[in-house]
């Protein structure tokens, strides 16, 4: 960014060109809004910028707007808004202040405009100073052969002993539910016991120990034996309930005996 290029907009040498009515009107797009136009006008007003009069500036702006409208040049709204405001400011500055009206003092309004212009000028000066600084790639330089930092993504997998144990516990806990299904092998169900007893009971005319009704295999397998004993006992009770069989036990823990009910007695 060269300084020339930046300055071209506010170059004082240019101002007189830009201020001639024709150029001004033709180049209206060259202004960065009404404040910029005012600033250009202010700078063209006097060599000694301190003597700039806001009133004079307002009138100058208004006559510019008049000329523009006489030439039927369409002006952007903000230029017209500024014109209206400056017309108001002009009246406030020319007429003595009316204390009855709560309206702002013309001098205060003018001071505000002056501040705005001054601030804009200050920012332009600051921008010029900034651009006049040494710049990277123009006045000082960065490394010409940068070396890229190669980023190596390395994934490491980790697990703690706790993870391992929890994993194992999880599997074994799951296993725990399986035996209930598998242990059906050693279960002698009530239905099986009933069916077996119905087949065998016909031969039991006299009192017989219930254990003789247990399936043969039960002696070798403790679990199956327990299951068969329970089922056979329950089946016996079922048969008693049906009224086909009598059951007795002489005393606690004595042998439980069964016999076919004597139908003739009924």
């Amino acid at each position: 960014m060269s300084e020339d290029e930046f300055d071209s907009g506010i170059d004082i040498a240019n101002v007189s060109d830009r201020m001639s009515p024709d150029t001004l009107l033709v180049n209206i797009d060259g202004y960065e809004g009404p404040l910029d136009l005012l600033l250009v006008m202010a700078r063209s007003q006097k060599v000694d910028l301190r003597k700039i009069s806001i009133l004079q500036l307002a009138m100058q702006y208004l006559s510019f707007i008049e000329q523009a409208s006489a030439l039927r040049i369409e002006l952007a709204a903000d230029y017209l808004v500024m014109a209206a405001w400056l017309a108001y400011l002009k009246s406030r500055l020319l007429l003595p202040p009316d204390p009855a009206h709560g309206e702002p003092d013309g001098e205060e309004l003018a001071a505000h405009l002056a501040f705005q212009l001054k601030r804009l000028q200050a920012m332009r000066d600051a921008a010029a100073k900034l651009m006049a600084r040494g710049q990277l790639g123009q006045d000082f330089f960065c490394r010409g052969i940068p070396e890229d930092v190669s980023r190596i993504r390395k994934v490491t997998y980790g697990a703690s002993l706790l993870d391992l144990m929890q994993g194992y516990a999880r599997i074994r806990t799951r296993d725990e539910f399986r035996p209930y299904v598998m242990s059906r092998d050693s279960v002698f169900t009530l239905e099986q016991a009933l069916e077996r007893m119905r087949r065998l009971i016909g031969f039991a005319g006299s009192w017989t120990d219930i254990s003789s009704y247990l399936p043969d295999t039960s002696s070798s397998d403790g679990k199956r034996r327990r299951s068969a004993t329970a089922s056979t006992f329950a089946a016996a009770l079922e048969l008693v309930k049906e009224g086909n069989v009598e059951i007795r036990q002489k005393e606690a823990f004595a042998a439980i005996e069964l016999r076919l009910k004597d139908q003739s007695l009924e």
Binding site: G9, E32, K51, I52, L55, A114, R119, D125, P146
Partner: protein, 214 residues
């Protein structure tokens, strides 16, 4: 696994000396076109290194050399000494020309940051065209700042480290003329108190308030 790596790191570098650490910073900064933060560097250095100290050591070493160690914002970089730019015509980068609007907007953001769009517009007296701020954002000279707490919670703009790096500034405090502008009340969004203006009036012995003191 964890332990393995730490063990290895320790055994390779047993608390490098300040000299050794500054060599490391030197190598990393030399290799990079971008500036690096302390953190960037320490992440790559062995454990227990203090990049800040190493950099101070290094900065002294490069005093008056053809290459300078500079700090911008929170990061560090080597840059060629500003007086040797004339040797580097071949390295000069063709810059896209910024519009006057963009340059002014940039300056306003830098000097007034955080600045809202409305503030920028009120200073320039013209509505900001969409492209102006976009261009600065694209250059990464400007970034979004925090929202203002004022009604509407407008977004603000701030300059970036890249901006500072580009203009060779260590921080925004080093912006040219910043303190003068602040003293003159020109960085305030409000008109300075009336009495100040009245003083100016007296100086300019005119009915109208004056401006353009210089």
């Amino acid at each position: 696994m964890n332990e393995d790596i730490e063990e290895k790191t320790e055994s390779l570098f047993e608390t490098p000396s300040l000299e050794a650490q500054s060599r490391m910073c030197e190598a990393m900064l030399f290799a990079s076109a971008e500036s690096l933060t302390i953190r960037d560097m320490e992440e790559r250095m062995p454990q227990g290194c203090n990049a800040s100290k190493a950099l101070e050591h290094l900065r002294a070493l490069y005093e008056n050399r053809g290459v300078k160690l500079v700090k911008t914002g929170g990061s560090w970089a080597f840059r060629t000494a500003p007086d040797l730019g004339f040797l580097m015509r071949q390295e000069m980068v063709e810059r896209r020309k910024l519009s006057r609007a963009a340059i002014e907007t940039l300056a306003i953001i830098a000097y007034h940051q955080p600045a809202t769009r409305a503030e920028i517009e009120s200073i320039r007296g013209v509505s900001a065209s969409r492209g102006t701020i976009d261009q600065l954002l694209e250059l990464e000279w400007v970034k979004f700042g925090r929202r203002k707490t004022t009604p509407g919670r407008p977004v603000t703009f701030m300059v970036t480290e890249k901006f500072l790096d580009h203009f060779g500034l260590e921080s925004v405090m080093d912006l040219p003329g910043l303190s003068d502008l602040r003293a003159a009340g020109l960085l305030a969004n409000q008109l300075p108190p009336n009495d100040r203006l009245r003083e100016n009036d007296e100086e300019s012995d005119s009915d109208q308030p004056s401006f353009f003191e210089d």
